[in-house]
Symmetry: C2
Subunit: 245 residues, 2 copies
Protein backbone atom coordinates (compact mmCIF):
# COMPACT_ATOMS: atom_id res chain seq x y z
CA UNK A 1 0.00 0.00 0.00
CA UNK A 2 1.20 3.49 -0.83
CA UNK A 3 0.68 6.37 1.59
CA UNK A 4 -0.12 9.62 -0.24
CA UNK A 5 0.03 13.04 1.38
CA UNK A 6 -2.03 15.95 0.01
CA UNK A 7 -1.66 19.68 0.57
CA UNK A 8 -5.06 21.30 0.11
CA UNK A 9 -6.31 24.88 -0.24
CA UNK A 10 -9.98 25.66 0.12
CA UNK A 11 -12.49 28.43 0.26
CA UNK A 12 -14.77 27.05 2.97
CA UNK A 13 -17.65 29.47 2.35
CA UNK A 14 -20.01 26.91 0.85
CA UNK A 15 -19.07 23.89 2.96
CA UNK A 16 -20.22 22.45 6.26
CA UNK A 17 -16.60 22.13 7.32
CA UNK A 18 -13.85 19.56 6.83
CA UNK A 19 -15.35 16.57 8.62
CA UNK A 20 -17.49 14.19 6.58
CA UNK A 21 -21.16 14.04 7.54
CA UNK A 22 -24.02 12.09 6.02
CA UNK A 23 -24.19 14.26 2.92
CA UNK A 24 -20.61 14.07 1.75
CA UNK A 25 -21.07 16.66 -0.97
CA UNK A 26 -21.21 19.48 1.55
CA UNK A 27 -17.94 18.78 3.38
CA UNK A 28 -14.38 19.17 2.16
CA UNK A 29 -13.38 15.68 3.28
CA UNK A 30 -16.46 14.16 1.62
CA UNK A 31 -15.84 15.98 -1.64
CA UNK A 32 -12.18 14.91 -1.68
CA UNK A 33 -12.97 11.28 -0.81
CA UNK A 34 -15.51 11.11 -3.64
CA UNK A 35 -13.00 12.30 -6.22
CA UNK A 36 -10.13 10.20 -4.78
CA UNK A 37 -12.33 7.08 -4.79
CA UNK A 38 -13.22 7.62 -8.46
CA UNK A 39 -9.57 8.30 -9.26
CA UNK A 40 -8.29 5.09 -7.65
CA UNK A 41 -11.35 2.82 -8.05
CA UNK A 42 -11.00 2.16 -4.33
CA UNK A 43 -12.97 3.33 -1.32
CA UNK A 44 -10.63 6.03 -0.04
CA UNK A 45 -10.61 7.20 3.56
CA UNK A 46 -8.84 10.49 3.97
CA UNK A 47 -7.11 11.40 7.23
CA UNK A 48 -6.99 15.15 7.78
CA UNK A 49 -4.65 17.03 10.13
CA UNK A 50 -7.78 18.13 11.97
CA UNK A 51 -11.24 19.51 11.36
CA UNK A 52 -12.15 22.98 10.26
CA UNK A 53 -15.62 24.37 11.03
CA UNK A 54 -18.29 25.28 8.49
CA UNK A 55 -17.20 28.38 6.57
CA UNK A 56 -13.57 28.25 7.73
CA UNK A 57 -10.91 28.40 4.99
CA UNK A 58 -7.52 26.75 4.49
CA UNK A 59 -4.39 28.04 2.82
CA UNK A 60 -2.70 24.76 3.74
CA UNK A 61 -4.56 21.77 5.06
CA UNK A 62 -2.72 18.43 5.12
CA UNK A 63 -4.30 15.00 4.66
CA UNK A 64 -3.18 11.49 3.70
CA UNK A 65 -4.71 8.30 2.34
CA UNK A 66 -3.63 4.75 1.54
CA UNK A 67 -4.02 3.27 -1.90
CA UNK A 68 -2.84 0.47 -4.15
CA UNK A 69 -3.14 2.73 -7.18
CA UNK A 70 0.00 2.97 -9.30
CA UNK A 71 -0.88 6.42 -10.63
CA UNK A 72 1.99 8.94 -10.51
CA UNK A 73 1.92 11.90 -8.13
CA UNK A 74 1.78 14.28 -11.08
CA UNK A 75 -1.16 12.47 -12.69
CA UNK A 76 -3.02 12.49 -9.36
CA UNK A 77 -2.42 16.24 -9.06
CA UNK A 78 -3.81 16.81 -12.55
CA UNK A 79 -6.80 14.53 -11.96
CA UNK A 80 -7.69 16.24 -8.70
CA UNK A 81 -7.34 19.71 -10.25
CA UNK A 82 -9.65 18.65 -13.04
CA UNK A 83 -12.41 16.99 -11.03
CA UNK A 84 -12.54 18.91 -7.76
CA UNK A 85 -14.80 21.98 -7.56
CA UNK A 86 -13.13 25.36 -8.05
CA UNK A 87 -13.13 26.18 -4.34
CA UNK A 88 -10.93 23.19 -3.41
CA UNK A 89 -7.44 22.95 -4.91
CA UNK A 90 -4.89 20.25 -4.11
CA UNK A 91 -1.54 21.99 -4.52
CA UNK A 92 0.78 19.05 -3.74
CA UNK A 93 0.65 15.25 -3.95
CA UNK A 94 3.60 13.41 -2.38
CA UNK A 95 4.13 9.75 -1.60
CA UNK A 96 5.34 9.50 2.00
CA UNK A 97 6.55 6.90 4.46
CA UNK A 98 3.87 4.34 5.30
CA UNK A 99 3.95 5.41 8.94
CA UNK A 100 3.10 9.06 8.26
CA UNK A 101 -0.25 10.07 9.83
CA UNK A 102 -1.67 13.54 9.12
CA UNK A 103 -3.27 13.94 12.53
CA UNK A 104 -1.08 12.05 14.99
CA UNK A 105 2.19 13.51 13.76
CA UNK A 106 1.25 17.20 13.84
CA UNK A 107 3.93 19.22 15.66
CA UNK A 108 2.38 22.64 15.20
CA UNK A 109 -0.32 24.60 13.44
CA UNK A 110 -0.84 28.16 12.35
CA UNK A 111 -4.24 29.79 12.18
CA UNK A 112 -4.70 33.23 10.65
CA UNK A 113 -7.62 35.37 11.78
CA UNK A 114 -8.45 38.33 9.52
CA UNK A 115 -10.49 41.37 10.51
CA UNK A 116 -11.74 44.20 8.31
CA UNK A 117 -11.77 47.05 10.79
CA UNK A 118 -13.73 49.90 9.24
CA UNK A 119 -17.16 51.45 9.68
CA UNK A 120 -18.46 49.58 6.62
CA UNK A 121 -17.58 46.11 5.36
CA UNK A 122 -15.52 45.52 2.24
CA UNK A 123 -17.57 43.80 -0.50
CA UNK A 124 -14.52 41.94 -1.81
CA UNK A 125 -13.26 40.63 1.53
CA UNK A 126 -16.56 39.93 3.25
CA UNK A 127 -16.19 36.16 2.88
CA UNK A 128 -12.52 36.10 3.93
CA UNK A 129 -12.53 38.53 6.83
CA UNK A 130 -14.68 39.34 9.82
CA UNK A 131 -16.06 42.85 9.82
CA UNK A 132 -15.53 44.77 13.06
CA UNK A 133 -16.91 48.33 12.84
CA UNK A 134 -15.62 49.61 16.21
CA UNK A 135 -12.07 51.01 16.18
CA UNK A 136 -9.65 48.41 17.56
CA UNK A 137 -6.77 49.30 19.84
CA UNK A 138 -4.05 47.06 18.43
CA UNK A 139 -1.64 47.67 21.30
CA UNK A 140 -4.21 46.44 23.81
CA UNK A 141 -4.84 43.37 21.65
CA UNK A 142 -1.09 42.65 21.59
CA UNK A 143 -0.93 43.02 25.36
CA UNK A 144 -3.80 40.54 25.83
CA UNK A 145 -2.25 38.17 23.29
CA UNK A 146 0.99 38.00 25.28
CA UNK A 147 -0.91 36.46 28.20
CA UNK A 148 -2.17 33.69 25.93
CA UNK A 149 1.31 32.76 24.72
CA UNK A 150 2.91 29.80 26.53
CA UNK A 151 1.62 26.53 27.91
CA UNK A 152 -1.80 26.90 29.51
CA UNK A 153 -4.96 25.00 30.27
CA UNK A 154 -7.25 26.54 27.64
CA UNK A 155 -10.55 25.26 29.11
CA UNK A 156 -11.90 28.83 29.06
CA UNK A 157 -11.12 29.06 25.35
CA UNK A 158 -12.87 25.99 23.99
CA UNK A 159 -16.50 25.16 23.32
CA UNK A 160 -18.21 22.99 25.89
CA UNK A 161 -18.68 20.34 23.22
CA UNK A 162 -14.97 19.66 23.24
CA UNK A 163 -14.15 16.09 24.18
CA UNK A 164 -10.39 16.41 24.31
CA UNK A 165 -9.18 15.03 27.60
CA UNK A 166 -6.30 17.39 28.25
CA UNK A 167 -7.09 21.06 27.73
CA UNK A 168 -3.40 22.00 27.99
CA UNK A 169 -1.87 23.42 24.81
CA UNK A 170 1.17 25.53 24.05
CA UNK A 171 0.81 28.72 22.04
CA UNK A 172 4.25 29.53 20.61
CA UNK A 173 3.37 33.03 19.38
CA UNK A 174 0.55 35.39 18.46
CA UNK A 175 1.48 38.09 15.96
CA UNK A 176 -0.87 40.94 15.16
CA UNK A 177 -0.32 42.94 11.98
CA UNK A 178 -2.28 46.04 11.06
CA UNK A 179 -2.25 47.43 7.53
CA UNK A 180 -4.83 50.22 7.27
CA UNK A 181 -8.28 48.61 7.69
CA UNK A 182 -6.93 45.05 7.69
CA UNK A 183 -5.95 43.45 11.01
CA UNK A 184 -4.38 40.00 10.87
CA UNK A 185 -3.78 37.79 13.89
CA UNK A 186 -1.47 34.81 13.36
CA UNK A 187 -1.78 32.11 16.04
CA UNK A 188 1.01 29.54 16.18
CA UNK A 189 0.74 26.64 18.60
CA UNK A 190 1.30 22.93 19.10
CA UNK A 191 -2.42 22.30 18.80
CA UNK A 192 -5.79 23.97 19.08
CA UNK A 193 -8.85 22.78 21.01
CA UNK A 194 -12.31 22.85 19.45
CA UNK A 195 -13.12 26.49 18.52
CA UNK A 196 -10.03 27.70 20.38
CA UNK A 197 -8.67 29.92 17.59
CA UNK A 198 -12.07 31.58 17.11
CA UNK A 199 -12.60 32.13 20.84
CA UNK A 200 -9.09 33.59 21.24
CA UNK A 201 -9.79 35.88 18.26
CA UNK A 202 -13.19 36.84 19.69
CA UNK A 203 -11.58 37.64 23.04
CA UNK A 204 -8.85 39.76 21.43
CA UNK A 205 -11.53 41.67 19.47
CA UNK A 206 -13.40 42.37 22.74
CA UNK A 207 -10.17 43.68 24.27
CA UNK A 208 -9.38 45.80 21.20
CA UNK A 209 -12.89 47.29 21.19
CA UNK A 210 -12.53 48.18 24.88
CA UNK A 211 -15.19 45.79 26.12
CA UNK A 212 -12.75 43.54 27.99
CA UNK A 213 -9.63 44.30 29.97
CA UNK A 214 -6.34 42.96 28.56
CA UNK A 215 -5.19 42.23 32.10
CA UNK A 216 -8.19 39.99 32.73
CA UNK A 217 -6.72 37.20 30.57
CA UNK A 218 -4.62 35.49 33.27
CA UNK A 219 -7.66 35.15 35.50
CA UNK A 220 -9.83 33.92 32.61
CA UNK A 221 -7.24 31.21 31.95
CA UNK A 222 -6.97 30.31 35.64
CA UNK A 223 -10.73 30.03 36.20
CA UNK A 224 -11.21 27.42 33.40
CA UNK A 225 -14.67 28.80 32.67
CA UNK A 226 -15.76 29.24 29.06
CA UNK A 227 -18.29 31.93 30.01
CA UNK A 228 -15.50 34.32 31.02
CA UNK A 229 -13.74 34.52 27.64
CA UNK A 230 -15.08 36.48 24.68
CA UNK A 231 -17.51 35.17 22.07
CA UNK A 232 -16.50 32.79 19.29
CA UNK A 233 -15.49 35.07 16.40
CA UNK A 234 -17.20 34.38 13.02
CA UNK A 235 -15.96 31.55 10.80
CA UNK A 236 -15.34 33.74 7.73
CA UNK A 237 -12.22 35.35 9.25
CA UNK A 238 -10.48 32.08 10.09
CA UNK A 239 -7.94 30.39 7.84
CA UNK A 240 -5.98 27.24 8.63
CA UNK A 241 -2.67 28.68 7.51
CA UNK A 242 -0.12 25.91 7.99
CA UNK A 243 0.39 22.47 9.52
CA UNK A 244 3.84 21.46 10.72
CA UNK A 245 5.29 17.97 11.14
Amino acid sequence: MRNIKLIIQYDGTKYRGWQKLGDSDKTIQGKLEDVLSKMTNEKIELIGSGRTDAGVHAFKQVANFHTESKMSEEDMLDYLYRYLPQDIVVTEVVEVDERFHSRYHVKGKKYLYRIWNAKRHNPFLRKYCTHVPEPLDIDLMRKAAEYLVGEHDFSSFTSLKSKNKSKVREIFSIEIKNDNELVEIMFHGDGFLYNMARIMAGTLIEVGAGRMDADSIPEILARKDRSLAGPKAPCSGLILYDVEY
Copy 2:
Protein backbone atom coordinates in the same frame (compact mmCIF):
# COMPACT_ATOMS: atom_id res chain seq x y z
CA MET B 1 -33.95 69.66 -6.43
CA ARG B 2 -30.79 68.38 -4.79
CA ASN B 3 -28.14 66.57 -6.83
CA ILE B 4 -26.55 63.70 -4.88
CA LYS B 5 -23.32 61.98 -5.88
CA LEU B 6 -22.58 58.42 -4.76
CA ILE B 7 -19.29 56.54 -4.65
CA ILE B 8 -20.03 52.82 -4.96
CA GLN B 9 -18.02 49.63 -4.48
CA TYR B 10 -19.34 46.34 -5.76
CA ASP B 11 -18.51 42.71 -6.22
CA GLY B 12 -20.08 42.17 -9.64
CA THR B 13 -19.94 38.35 -9.54
CA LYS B 14 -23.69 37.84 -9.15
CA TYR B 15 -24.92 40.70 -11.31
CA ARG B 16 -25.74 41.16 -14.96
CA GLY B 17 -23.70 44.33 -14.97
CA TRP B 18 -24.33 47.96 -14.09
CA GLN B 19 -26.99 48.86 -16.65
CA LYS B 20 -30.61 48.33 -15.67
CA LEU B 21 -32.48 45.67 -17.63
CA GLY B 22 -36.03 44.40 -17.26
CA ASP B 23 -35.29 42.48 -14.07
CA SER B 24 -33.83 45.26 -11.98
CA ASP B 25 -32.78 42.92 -9.16
CA LYS B 26 -29.94 41.48 -11.20
CA THR B 27 -28.18 44.73 -12.10
CA ILE B 28 -26.26 47.11 -9.87
CA GLN B 29 -28.12 50.17 -11.15
CA GLY B 30 -31.50 48.44 -10.69
CA LYS B 31 -30.65 47.35 -7.15
CA LEU B 32 -29.49 50.86 -6.22
CA GLU B 33 -32.51 52.56 -7.79
CA ASP B 34 -34.87 50.26 -5.86
CA VAL B 35 -33.27 51.12 -2.53
CA LEU B 36 -32.92 54.85 -3.36
CA SER B 37 -36.57 55.02 -4.43
CA LYS B 38 -37.70 53.46 -1.14
CA MET B 39 -35.38 55.79 0.77
CA THR B 40 -36.73 58.97 -0.84
CA ASN B 41 -40.29 57.88 -1.66
CA GLU B 42 -39.56 59.10 -5.19
CA LYS B 43 -38.87 57.30 -8.44
CA ILE B 44 -35.10 57.69 -8.60
CA GLU B 45 -33.15 57.52 -11.83
CA LEU B 46 -29.49 56.97 -11.24
CA ILE B 47 -26.90 58.25 -13.71
CA GLY B 48 -23.72 56.15 -13.66
CA SER B 49 -20.28 57.18 -14.94
CA GLY B 50 -20.63 54.34 -17.43
CA ARG B 51 -21.62 50.70 -17.64
CA THR B 52 -19.73 47.74 -16.37
CA ASP B 53 -20.36 44.30 -17.90
CA ALA B 54 -21.83 41.30 -16.12
CA GLY B 55 -19.35 39.98 -13.56
CA VAL B 56 -17.12 43.06 -13.62
CA HIS B 57 -16.31 44.66 -10.25
CA ALA B 58 -15.89 48.23 -9.04
CA PHE B 59 -13.62 49.66 -6.37
CA LYS B 60 -14.98 53.09 -7.22
CA GLN B 61 -17.99 53.65 -9.43
CA VAL B 62 -19.57 57.14 -9.44
CA ALA B 63 -23.24 57.90 -9.95
CA ASN B 64 -25.65 60.76 -9.22
CA PHE B 65 -29.39 61.29 -8.84
CA HIS B 66 -31.77 64.16 -8.26
CA THR B 67 -34.15 64.24 -5.33
CA GLU B 68 -36.35 66.55 -3.26
CA SER B 69 -35.60 64.51 -0.14
CA LYS B 70 -34.27 66.50 2.80
CA MET B 71 -32.45 63.52 4.28
CA SER B 72 -28.87 64.28 5.38
CA GLU B 73 -25.91 62.78 3.50
CA GLU B 74 -24.96 60.79 6.60
CA ASP B 75 -28.45 59.35 7.02
CA MET B 76 -28.51 58.37 3.35
CA LEU B 77 -25.16 56.61 3.76
CA ASP B 78 -26.49 54.66 6.75
CA TYR B 79 -29.76 53.79 5.01
CA LEU B 80 -27.97 52.52 1.89
CA TYR B 81 -25.50 50.49 3.94
CA ARG B 82 -28.40 48.90 5.80
CA TYR B 83 -30.65 48.04 2.87
CA LEU B 84 -28.27 47.26 0.00
CA PRO B 85 -27.08 43.66 -0.39
CA GLN B 86 -23.63 42.86 1.02
CA ASP B 87 -21.94 42.91 -2.38
CA ILE B 88 -22.81 46.57 -3.04
CA VAL B 89 -21.48 49.22 -0.65
CA VAL B 90 -21.97 52.97 -1.06
CA THR B 91 -18.88 54.50 0.53
CA GLU B 92 -19.67 58.18 0.05
CA VAL B 93 -22.78 60.35 -0.34
CA VAL B 94 -22.14 64.00 -1.22
CA GLU B 95 -24.49 66.75 -2.33
CA VAL B 96 -22.98 68.37 -5.43
CA ASP B 97 -23.64 71.27 -7.78
CA GLU B 98 -26.89 70.86 -9.72
CA ARG B 99 -24.95 70.79 -12.98
CA PHE B 100 -22.77 67.80 -12.07
CA HIS B 101 -23.39 64.81 -14.37
CA SER B 102 -21.66 61.49 -13.62
CA ARG B 103 -21.26 60.50 -17.24
CA TYR B 104 -20.83 63.72 -19.22
CA HIS B 105 -18.22 65.21 -16.89
CA VAL B 106 -15.84 62.24 -16.71
CA LYS B 107 -12.24 63.39 -17.38
CA GLY B 108 -10.57 60.05 -16.93
CA LYS B 109 -11.02 56.48 -15.75
CA LYS B 110 -8.83 53.77 -14.37
CA TYR B 111 -9.48 50.09 -14.95
CA LEU B 112 -7.48 47.43 -13.15
CA TYR B 113 -7.11 44.02 -14.75
CA ARG B 114 -5.89 41.25 -12.42
CA ILE B 115 -4.35 37.96 -13.51
CA TRP B 116 -3.45 34.93 -11.39
CA ASN B 117 -0.52 33.56 -13.32
CA ALA B 118 0.19 30.06 -12.00
CA LYS B 119 -0.37 26.52 -13.17
CA ARG B 120 -3.41 26.18 -10.91
CA HIS B 121 -6.02 28.77 -9.97
CA ASN B 122 -6.24 30.28 -6.51
CA PRO B 123 -9.50 29.32 -4.74
CA PHE B 124 -9.64 32.66 -2.89
CA LEU B 125 -9.03 34.92 -5.89
CA ARG B 126 -10.91 33.00 -8.56
CA LYS B 127 -13.76 35.52 -8.65
CA TYR B 128 -11.48 38.57 -8.61
CA CYS B 129 -8.75 37.52 -11.02
CA THR B 130 -8.46 35.79 -14.34
CA HIS B 131 -6.46 32.58 -14.23
CA VAL B 132 -3.73 32.31 -16.88
CA PRO B 133 -1.77 29.04 -16.56
CA GLU B 134 0.89 29.77 -19.19
CA PRO B 135 3.95 31.70 -17.94
CA LEU B 136 3.65 35.36 -18.93
CA ASP B 137 6.59 37.42 -20.14
CA ILE B 138 5.92 40.70 -18.35
CA ASP B 139 8.56 42.64 -20.28
CA LEU B 140 6.90 41.75 -23.58
CA MET B 141 3.53 42.79 -22.15
CA ARG B 142 5.01 46.15 -21.11
CA LYS B 143 6.46 46.61 -24.59
CA ALA B 144 3.08 45.92 -26.21
CA ALA B 145 1.35 48.20 -23.70
CA GLU B 146 3.56 51.13 -24.67
CA TYR B 147 2.16 51.00 -28.20
CA LEU B 148 -1.37 51.36 -26.81
CA VAL B 149 -0.52 54.47 -24.80
CA GLY B 150 -1.43 57.76 -26.47
CA GLU B 151 -4.30 58.97 -28.63
CA HIS B 152 -5.44 56.30 -31.08
CA ASP B 153 -8.47 55.08 -32.96
CA PHE B 154 -9.27 51.97 -30.92
CA SER B 155 -11.68 50.37 -33.45
CA SER B 156 -9.65 47.16 -33.28
CA PHE B 157 -10.09 47.08 -29.51
CA THR B 158 -13.86 47.37 -29.16
CA SER B 159 -16.69 44.93 -29.67
CA LEU B 160 -18.62 45.27 -32.92
CA LYS B 161 -21.71 46.11 -30.89
CA SER B 162 -20.16 49.43 -29.92
CA LYS B 163 -22.24 52.36 -31.11
CA ASN B 164 -19.90 55.16 -30.10
CA LYS B 165 -19.36 57.43 -33.06
CA SER B 166 -15.74 58.33 -32.51
CA LYS B 167 -13.44 55.42 -31.74
CA VAL B 168 -10.60 57.78 -30.78
CA ARG B 169 -9.56 57.65 -27.13
CA GLU B 170 -6.44 58.64 -25.24
CA ILE B 171 -4.71 56.14 -22.99
CA PHE B 172 -2.60 58.12 -20.51
CA SER B 173 -0.70 55.14 -19.13
CA ILE B 174 -0.66 51.37 -18.72
CA GLU B 175 1.24 50.10 -15.70
CA ILE B 176 1.95 46.42 -15.21
CA LYS B 177 2.91 45.17 -11.76
CA ASN B 178 4.01 41.64 -11.01
CA ASP B 179 4.09 40.29 -7.45
CA ASN B 180 4.76 36.54 -7.52
CA GLU B 181 1.73 34.89 -9.16
CA LEU B 182 -0.31 38.10 -9.28
CA VAL B 183 -0.07 40.30 -12.38
CA GLU B 184 -1.94 43.61 -12.28
CA ILE B 185 -2.48 45.86 -15.29
CA MET B 186 -3.70 49.40 -14.57
CA PHE B 187 -5.21 51.17 -17.56
CA HIS B 188 -5.64 54.93 -17.25
CA GLY B 189 -7.37 56.83 -20.04
CA ASP B 190 -9.82 59.59 -20.89
CA GLY B 191 -12.45 57.02 -21.76
CA PHE B 192 -12.92 53.41 -22.76
CA LEU B 193 -15.01 52.03 -25.63
CA TYR B 194 -17.30 49.04 -25.13
CA ASN B 195 -15.17 46.07 -23.97
CA MET B 196 -11.98 48.03 -24.67
CA ALA B 197 -10.29 47.33 -21.32
CA ARG B 198 -11.00 43.61 -21.61
CA ILE B 199 -9.80 43.41 -25.23
CA MET B 200 -6.60 45.31 -24.38
CA ALA B 201 -6.05 42.94 -21.42
CA GLY B 202 -6.75 39.92 -23.62
CA THR B 203 -4.29 41.18 -26.21
CA LEU B 204 -1.58 41.79 -23.60
CA ILE B 205 -2.13 38.26 -22.25
CA GLU B 206 -1.67 36.85 -25.78
CA VAL B 207 1.58 38.79 -26.11
CA GLY B 208 2.79 37.69 -22.67
CA ALA B 209 2.03 34.05 -23.47
CA GLY B 210 3.97 34.31 -26.73
CA ARG B 211 0.98 33.86 -29.01
CA MET B 212 1.10 37.41 -30.40
CA ASP B 213 3.99 39.70 -31.25
CA ALA B 214 4.35 42.87 -29.17
CA ASP B 215 5.44 44.73 -32.30
CA SER B 216 2.20 43.84 -34.08
CA ILE B 217 0.21 46.36 -32.01
CA PRO B 218 0.81 49.44 -34.21
CA GLU B 219 -0.52 47.60 -37.24
CA ILE B 220 -3.50 46.21 -35.32
CA LEU B 221 -4.37 49.79 -34.32
CA ALA B 222 -3.87 51.08 -37.86
CA ARG B 223 -6.03 48.40 -39.53
CA LYS B 224 -9.13 49.18 -37.37
CA ASP B 225 -10.16 45.54 -37.50
CA ARG B 226 -11.45 43.88 -34.33
CA SER B 227 -10.47 40.41 -35.57
CA LEU B 228 -6.77 41.29 -35.38
CA ALA B 229 -6.61 42.06 -31.64
CA GLY B 230 -6.66 39.38 -28.94
CA PRO B 231 -9.78 37.90 -27.35
CA LYS B 232 -11.88 39.71 -24.77
CA ALA B 233 -10.37 38.71 -21.42
CA PRO B 234 -12.82 37.28 -18.82
CA CYS B 235 -14.98 39.64 -16.75
CA SER B 236 -13.79 38.35 -13.34
CA GLY B 237 -10.38 40.04 -13.67
CA LEU B 238 -11.74 43.51 -14.44
CA ILE B 239 -12.29 46.19 -11.81
CA LEU B 240 -13.45 49.76 -12.45
CA TYR B 241 -10.83 51.30 -10.22
CA ASP B 242 -11.45 55.04 -10.34
CA VAL B 243 -13.43 57.75 -12.14
CA GLU B 244 -11.96 61.23 -12.41
CA TYR B 245 -13.76 64.56 -12.92
